[in-house]
Symmetry: C2
Subunit: 367 residues, 2 copies
């Protein structure tokens, strides 16, 4: 099938907000919404046998992507996949030991290893693109589908460390000792990520998001040189539209609140912010050209529904008066400030979504 | 002996910089400078048998505090102690399992546990105050001695979690569900920390520092309510001078760069910043009333000495033209943006200290 034969979109609230157009309410989705807090996710995960078994199987990836959209009236679906598919396709050999984080068979730590890196053949990532098309079909126009990738710097952290890290010892040693090697990795990563996201768009993704999960561990100066510059390189290469539809792009830098002013000129539509950011200040800094996505502390969902509602009101009020004009203006997409915790009670998520929709509608009524 | 009989101070560069007075060069010390990167520390630690055996023995605590000051021409010593001495003195039962982080026998998680908390009898912390006096005597006026404590919020994190945490699940659940309980803990912690620091001052500490190591994990709004407000309560209670000497106070909030403007009015002399902060911007925001301490990424010390020197120059230049006037002005105390890594080569630290002194002198010559 061609992607142009997908069903027409019924709920475009999220896409409109990405493009800074007025909406009847503030759309909401949650990072890691297809995840372990859902019993139905855990059931599919058990069937799949392993995390990569889940991510590489089109039917399973479709199933878990759809699950949260059936349980909660959220406003977007996001592709279920792993953040490390691209370096895996580069031949680094991704695996997940039970109860541990990701591991690469080959870490990229010296000149020889860097010399062997190249933008991977997208055929190796066919399972991702097949999942995108399958999910888009399964959504049947109910909701838009977001594709995603890790940022060049975030991928480099895992590639150099060989897996997760809590001190970034190896990648920062490379950064300060052999910046030339790190720049080479980042150039390749940036071009690979751009191609990967564009192929997701061609496969059916209606928006794309870059997760710069580890941008915030960099020093001022190093952030601009090793993270921001390569996010710029990715964003500038992305399809702005596909099959006649505008494709919004989102950049989320965890811990990047200090650098919003420097992110404002980026060629993307939305900036995601974590919970340390004051939404009113973010709106002042970037709201003239970007929609803002965020930023409830995922830990707020451990509190009972009444307190969750208070935190939702506080977050909506922090962003302030909703834009209701005819052209474009500052818009807000509600999200968590990071991925939802596996310990989150399911009924608390229902309370969150309901509160966001209810209070954001009321705020517009009051305008 | 009375504390007024201590030897006169020979190197007051650090204290002058704390008070925003001009100095011939930029003073430097390093967070966690009495630590595992030093072979002589590891030797003393082995003799002591355990971490708390080291911290609670006056002679050992003195020995490890002095060690880095004998190896490097740094400009201040900082008391060697644990950050959790105060909750231990509250009766929570601190221990360190080999190869693991701190653990409390009793965590503070419910109304009953909170009701039992009280500002501890300072007699239980006598080993700390004895160490302060012993170190001050051993320094013999060579360098000033900094005392320290964890911040009320940072202590509360450990007290509620029962030890270290990577997601702050329990303390944030309390924050969002039962803020009244957390406020009660924080009030007690603040008064305990103030008394603890004042007793360190009375015992010989010539400056004091509050480590808000986990302030940066809080959401905007929660930070002001649960961290900043209680740091304010601590700082307002501190001795401003003792035995005729002004006692500067330093607040370091890891990950607090977004809230510098709100920290500027605090009743302290120095604000510490981590490596994500741009020193020129920090100087603009708080330099009118505060000295600034920081902020080299500790990972920069993994690079060879030539690159370390470049990073030092970059950091000094980021702060900008040194203050050389007769009154007071914006001053800089060089430090790392967080504690030094145990993996740091000793000779790299020597290169760091030399580069800071050399280049900061040259910058003043060039004024």
């Amino acid at each position: 099938m061609t992607t142009s034969s997908f069903a027409p979109l019924k709920n475009d609230t999220f896409l409109r907000a990405c493009l800074r157009q007025a909406t009847d309410y503030t759309p909401i989705w949650m990072m890691r919404q297809a995840g372990r807090f859902l019993p139905e996710y855990r059931a599919t995960r058990a069937k799949a046998g392993s995390f990569m078994g889940l991510a590489t199987n089109t039917d399973y990836a479709t199933e878990v992507t759809i699950q949260p959209t059936e349980r909660f009236p959220i406003d977007a679906a996001i592709l279920f996949s792993d953040i490390l598919t691209v370096p895996d396709a580069m031949g680094l050999g991704l695996s997940f030991a039970e109860g541990e984080g990701p591991k690469f068979a080959t870490a990229v730590r010296d000149e020889a290893a860097v010399a062997q890196l190249a933008v991977p053949d997208m055929a190796k990532l066919r399972y991702v693109f097949d999942a995108v098309t399958s999910i888009r079909k399964a959504l049947n126009g109910r909701l838009p589908l977001i594709g995603f990738s890790g940022s060049p710097w975030t991928l480099a952290c895992y590639m150099v460390e060989g897996g997760s890290s809590d001190d970034y010892h190896r990648v920062k040693t490379m950064l300060y000792s052999r910046p030339d090697l790190l720049h080479r990795i980042l150039q390749i990563n940036a071009d690979a990520v751009a191609l990967y996201l564009n192929t997701q768009i061609e496969s059916g993704a209606q928006a794309v998001m870059v997760f710069d999960s580890w941008g915030g561990v960099l020093a001022d100066g190093a952030f601009q040189e090793f993270s921001l510059a390569y996010n710029r390189r990715v964003l500038s290469q992305l399809h702005k539209s596909w099959n006649g539809a505008t494709i919004p792009s989102i950049l989320f830098t965890k811990g990047g609140g200090l650098w919003l002013r420097e992110m404002e000129p980026l060629d993307c539509n939305v900036l995601g912010v974590d919970w340390t950011v004051n939404l009113a200040k973010a709106r002042t800094i970037v709201g003239g050209s970007k929609a803002i996505q965020g930023n409830l502390d995922p830990a707020a969902l451990f509190a009972p529904p009444a307190q969750i509602e208070q935190e939702v009101i506080r977050t909506l009020n922090a962003f302030g008066t909703p834009y209701t004009g005819d052209a474009t203006g500052p818009t807000h997409i509600f999200n968590l400030g990071h991925g939802i915790s596996q310990h989150t009670p399911v009924e608390h998520v229902a309370a969150l979504v309901e509160a966001v929709h209810k209070h954001s509608r009321a705020m517009r009524g009051a305008c």
